[in-house]
Amino acid sequence: MRILIIEDYPPLRNSLAKGLREIGHAVDATGDGEEGKWFLEEFDFDILVLDLMLPGMDGLSILKWLRRAKRPTRVLILTAKDTVEDKVRGLDLGADDYLVKPFAFAELLARINVLARRQNALDEPTLQLGELNIDTSNRLARWAGNPLALTPKEYYLLELLVRRRGRILSRDQIWNSLYDANAESNSNVIDVFIRSLRRKLEMAGAPPLIKTRRGFGYTIEGPS
C-alpha cells in the first residue's frame, strides 16, 4: 500500500515511516504542508496520515484541497488536538479517521488496515480467491489453509493483485504501489517478485494464478 505521512515533528515522522516501510508499505513522508500537497498532486496514495498543525500549509487546508480534487485517498488525521470539536471538524472536512497522539503503533496499523479495506470496498478483513486466503489484518496469505512464506513486498504484491483481480496492472502501477517516491525505479524488480510469488504458490500446490499480459502487465484470475 502506498502511504503518505505529513507530520512536522521529525522523530515521529521518521519512526512512523520506518515502521510502515518495515512491514512492507511504500511510504513517503514530509514535514511541510506545501510539500505534502505536491506529493498528493504528483502521486496516487492509498492512505494519507496527516498532522493538522503544519508549516507551509495546515492539515485541514490539505484535506479540503484533497476532497475538492476528488482524490480517493483515505485520510487518517494524526493530531494532538483531542477535543470533540476538533474531531468533528476534521471528520466533517472529509477525514476518514482520527487518531489522537500519543498512540500505539499497533493501533495506527489497525486503523490503516481498516481504511485500506474501505478503500477497496471490503467489509471483511480477508480476501479469498479459490483456495487462496489473505488475512489482511495479520498480513498472512494461505493456500488451502497452509501459510505461504512471503516477504512483505511479495505479500503486498499478492494482496494488490487479488484486490484488483481480473484487471491488468502495469509494472509502473505495481511499482508505485510498492515503493515510495525516493526509490529508484527498476521494473525488473517487479518481475523478480512475480517469479518468486509464482514459485511459492506452485510449491504450495496452487495452479498458475498469476498471468502475464505481454506489453501490458500482470493479472490474477480465479474463482472468488
Binding site: S15, D82, P102, F103, A104
Partner: protein, 473 residues
Amino acid sequence: MTLSLRQKMILRVGLAVILILVISGIILNLFVSSDIQKGFDARLLDGARLLESEVVVKCDSVVFDLTEFHLGSVADKDLIQLTGPGKVIHFRSPELQEMTLPVPALSAGNWAFTNVHLDDGVHLRCVHLAFHPHLGDSDEEEDDTISSARAQDTLVILTIGRNAHFLEQSIVRIRVILIAVAVVTFIVLILALLAVIGATLGPVEDLAQGIAGFDPGHSGKRFAIRGLPREFYPVVDRLNDLLLRLQATLDREKTFSADFSHEIRTPLAGLQSTLEVGLLKPRTPREYEMILQECLGISGSMQSITQAMLTLKRLEYGATTVEKTTFPVRGMIEDLAAEFTAPARQKAMSIQLEVESDMVLHTDRKLFELAVRNIIDNAISHGEAGSTVTISGTQTATGVYIEVANPGCGLSRDEAQDLRARFRRGDKSRAVEGGHTGLGLALVDGIGKVLDFSVVIDVDAAGYYRIRFEFKP
C-alpha cells in the same frame, strides 16, 4: 449555637423592644398609680376639710354634729373618727363599733395619710387632719375669752377612712391595660421588624446564598449590587474583581494546560512510536543504539518544554529568587554570543556585537542571561541562512537598551506581537530543529515582569525582526 444575621437582629431588637416596653410600662404605671393615689387622697382631704367646720368646742367639750351636714366629698360609706386630746375618741362612725383607727401624732394644720387593714380584711385609706376646732355657740353665759382659749388648746384629729378597694382595682386595671398594650405593641413591633428585616436582609441573604453556592467551575458569575445596602458595595465590588481575576487565572491555566498537553503529546507519540517500531523486529546493536539516541533526543525536547513551563510558572507565581548585582553588559553579551557561534556557523550566519563597553546593569544576571539567550537562540534558529544577527546595547539618560535584530523572519508586525503567547511559534509547527518549545518569548516576558524591564517586539520595513529590552529608571 450559631445564629443567622436575621435571627440575631430579631433577637436583639426583640430584647431591646421588651426592655423598652417594660421600663416604659413600669414608669407609666408609677406615674398613673401615683396620680390616681393623689387624686384619691386629695378627695379624702377635701372631705376632711369640709368636716372640719362641723367640729366645735362648746361648753368645754368637743362637739361633732353631722346631722345637718350634707355629704359631698365624703361618701356615706366613709368611716369617720374624731380623736381629741389624750386620744379621747369624740366621734366614731357606727360601722367602726368599738374599733379605734390608729392616729399619727400631728400638729395643728397638718395632715397625714395612712393605710389601715381592718380585721375583716378591708383596706382603708385614711386621712388624718389635725386642727383646733372653732368655738361653737354656748347656751350658758361664759367668758368668751376663756372659751376661745380652750378651743385654742384643744387639738383634735379628724380621721376619714375610705375603702381603698376601688383605688386598688383602678390601679390593677391600669396595669392590665398597660401590659395588654405592651404585648400588642410587642407583637406589632416584631411583625413590623420581621417585615423590615426581611426586606432589608433579603438582598444580603441572596448574596450570601450566591457566594455559598458559587461553583468555581463557573467563574464567569458576577454578583449584582442592586438592592444591597451601601455598606456592601465595596465588598461586592472586590468580590467581582476577585472573580474576574479568578476567571482570568482559570482561563490562563486551562489554556496553558491544553497547550502543554498538546505540545507534550507529539514528542510522547514520537517516543512511543520510535520504541514500538524499534521493537518490531530484532535489530543490530548499532540500530538499537540509534533508536536510543533518537529517544534521548525526544526526551530532551520534552525536558525543555517541562523546564520552560516550570520556569514560567515560578516567574508567574513569584517563586523565583531574584539576586540583583551590578555587572558589565558587554562581557555578558560576548559570553552569550560565544555560545551560539557554532549553531550560527552551521547556517552560515554571523553575530555582530554593537554594545557600549562601559554599559552596566543592576539586575539578576542569571535570569537576564536566560532571557537574552532565548532571543539569540530564536534569532539563530529562525533567521535567514547567511544573515547577520546584530546585538546592540546603549545606555542613555532615559535608560539601558539592549536589542537583538535579525532579518528574514517572514512575520508581520501583528504576527510578531502574537509570539508573546505561550506555545506560539513563528512557523506554527515544530519543524525547526533544536527543541524549541514555543515558550521562549512568554518566558522573556515573564522575566521582564520580575526584573522590571519591558520587552518591545518590532518588525521594521526592511523585514528586520527586532526585540528590545528596555530598562528605564
